[in-house]
């Protein structure tokens, strides 16, 4: 390699970094801007939005107001409840169904797999009219259970689809060896198969969780009551009410973003390796 070629190569890499850095800034700027301004006084928010909070401008007045004037902690709890329980159910029932579909030959196997996979492409929202009528007749409107059931149904198709692929890769010898020891099919699944596909289950968990946590549609329609309000709905209504109180609005937005940010710090590698390995083709 000639020196000029090397130089050119370096310059080219520099441009690549510049482009990527530029886009990273575009992606993060709005979020960072809201978070830093949520810690500033009203005058600093307007006079100097781009600066970090300093001793003169630092204030938690927005956060105090949000915590006082809204039941945001209750909304957090509600969101947690209607995310974690369906998540557990999707992973448990989804991996059980995926195991049955990939392991046993029975009449209608492929048809059943197709039926379940339909839910990946056809959004569950289209059935809202009937879902609401079902919930009314079951007396479940404004209960956590309504959201838990709907979110479980929403998460299952994709979970089953991805887990079927992974469970299908478990070597046959392993299963046969276990069966020779006289293990029941149910114990075989829970004690041997499930621990083996744990990494795949973790990836599916992240995919399943995010749409549930972020959903506004079903909380708005099935559980808008104060006791069951989720964080998305709570923040949306709080902001509608306090639109002119910038400190509170910025604090409420920051609080709503926080859990996902924290989670992302821990699970981003999991999620991204799942996206780049599972979804190829």
């Amino acid at each position: 390699m000639t020196p000029s070629f090397q130089y050119q190569q370096k310059a080219r890499m520099g441009l690549v970094h510049l482009a990527l850095l530029g886009y990273t800034l575009i992606a993060l700027f709005p979020i960072v801007l809201v978070i830093i301004n949520s810690f500033k006084s009203r005058s600093a928010i307007f006079n100097d939005p781009l600066s970090l909070p300093d001793t003169g401008s630092f204030t938690l007045v927005g956060y105090a107001k949000v915590l006082q004037e809204s039941d945001i902690l209750l909304y957090f709890g509600n969101s947690l409840l209607v995310t974690v329980i369906p998540l557990f159910l999707v992973l448990l029932f989804g991996s059980m169904a995926a195991w049955a579909l990939s392991e046993y030959r029975f009449r209608g196997n492929r048809l059943l797999a197709l039926f379940l996979a339909m839910g990946i492409m056809v959004p569950i929202r289209l059935g809202t009219v009937s879902i609401l009528e079902t919930m009314v007749s079951l007396n479940l409107v404004n209960t956590h259970l309504a959201l838990i059931l709907v979110y479980t149904a929403m998460g299952l198709p994709l979970a089953i689809f991805i887990l079927t692929e992974f469970i299908g890769q478990v070597p046959n010898e392993l299963k046969e060896a276990a069966r020779c020891d006289g293990i029941t099919e149910i114990r075989l699944f829970f004690q041997i198969i499930l621990p083996l596909v744990r990494p795949a289950v973790a990836t599916v968990a992240v995919f399943t969780m995010v749409p549930m946590w972020n959903d506004l549609w079903f909380p708005l329609i099935l559980a808008p009551g104060d006791a069951t309000k989720t964080i998305q709905l709570g923040v949306q209504q709080f902001i509608g009410q306090y639109a002119t109180d910038w400190n509170s609005v910025l604090a409420a937005l920051s609080l709503a973003v926080l859990p996902i940010l924290v989670l992302y710090v821990f699970f981003s590698q999991q999620l991204i390796s799942g996206l780049t390995s599972g979804a190829v083709k």
Binding site: Y23, A100, T134, L149, L156, I186, Q236, I272
Partner: protein
């Protein structure tokens, strides 16, 4: 395997199949069925044939609102397609360059907005674009483009485009990741062979890599299509259920919501809501079928 009744099969399948059937598959079919019924004022439900569809498409008020939402939604989708795919492809191409340091950090950070709630993102951009705060206005002035600033979200002519771009900004991570993964899966020998034959990097990209990732672009497009035609949150968060100004940001999701739930003076109707949902289902079904029969079939020959 065994002759006895396969109880274990029932054990493994029943919970998932029952929940999915009762709360997803059945409601969808039932919604399609409800679109052929109508409720009287006393709340009695009776079969009405195609009359809901005749109202939706034939009545001047209804059909204007319906086609307005449909056309807005189409624009919303087309803007996604035109902006998100090229940017996603560009970012993925840069990220997949050999010897790039920090690729992992870049992709992790660029993917972040995709995970945040649409409601929150909507509010954040509303603040940033607000003339009250002036952040974007000052930014444009700093670039010497200040006189181009406008209250984009408030204008009939620009609100829908602005919302589409906000949505692209948020979800760019998905096309980027999927394309990135498919670029990484191209075998090295293929690229080496082209290099030995003297092809320039530019030519290798357009003549070898892009054709090989066309199936992924197809997948991204259909995912975007399905997502766009049932989204609701962004418009609802930023513009409310009335999707103003003057319905210029009304899309199928918000139109469905108003029809079903009613808003202000307009009374909600379950059966008309079901009719709108049925139309959304038909649109999505058409898109998905077109994808499977046309795009997928034509593109498979490129697959490795």
């Amino acid at each position: 395997m065994q002759r006895a009744f396969p109880w274990h099969l029932i054990f493994f399948l029943a919970p998932a199949v029952i929940i999915y059937t009762v709360f997803s598959a059945y409601p969808l079919l039932d919604t399609l069925r409800l679109s052929f019924f109508t409720d009287s004022e006393s709340g009695e439900r009776s079969f009405a044939g195609l009359s809901n569809f005749v109202t939706l498409l034939g009545n001047a008020v209804w059909s204007e609102a319906f086609w307005n939402a449909m056309w807005n939604n189409t624009q919303f989708f087309l803007i996604h397609l035109l902006v998100q795919n090229p940017i996603g492809l560009g970012l993925a191409a840069l990220l997949s360059l050999k010897g790039l340091r920090g690729a992992r950090t870049y992709r992790t950070l660029i993917f972040l907005p995709t995970l945040l709630s649409v409601v929150i993102i909507g509010f954040i951009w509303q603040l940033i674009l607000s003339p009250l705060w002036g952040v974007s206005e000052n930014f444009l002035y700093a670039l010497g483009l200040g006189h181009y600033f406008d209250a984009w979200l408030g204008k009939e002519s620009s609100a829908l485009i602005t919302l589409s771009l906000i949505s692209v900004w948020q979800f760019i991570g998905i096309p980027m990741m999927l394309i990135y993964a498919s670029l990484l899966s191209i075998p090295d020998e293929l690229l080496e062979a082209a290099k030995v034959d003297g092809a320039s990097p530019f030519r290798i990209f357009w003549r070898i890599k892009v054709p090989l990732i066309l199936p992924t672009l197809g997948l991204v497009t259909i995912l975007t299509f399905v997502g766009n035609f049932n989204t609701f949150e962004l418009v609802y968060a930023v513009k409310g259920a009335l999707a103003g100004p003057d319905y210029s940001t009304d899309i199928m999701g918000t139109f469905f919501y108003r029809t079903f739930f009613g808003y202000q003076s307009q009374l909600g109707s379950a059966t008309m809501g079901a009719t709108v949902a049925t139309m959304m289902f038909l649109v999505i079904l058409t898109g998905v079928m077109a994808y499977f029969y046309l795009v997928q079939r034509r593109l498979t020959r490129y697959q490795l």
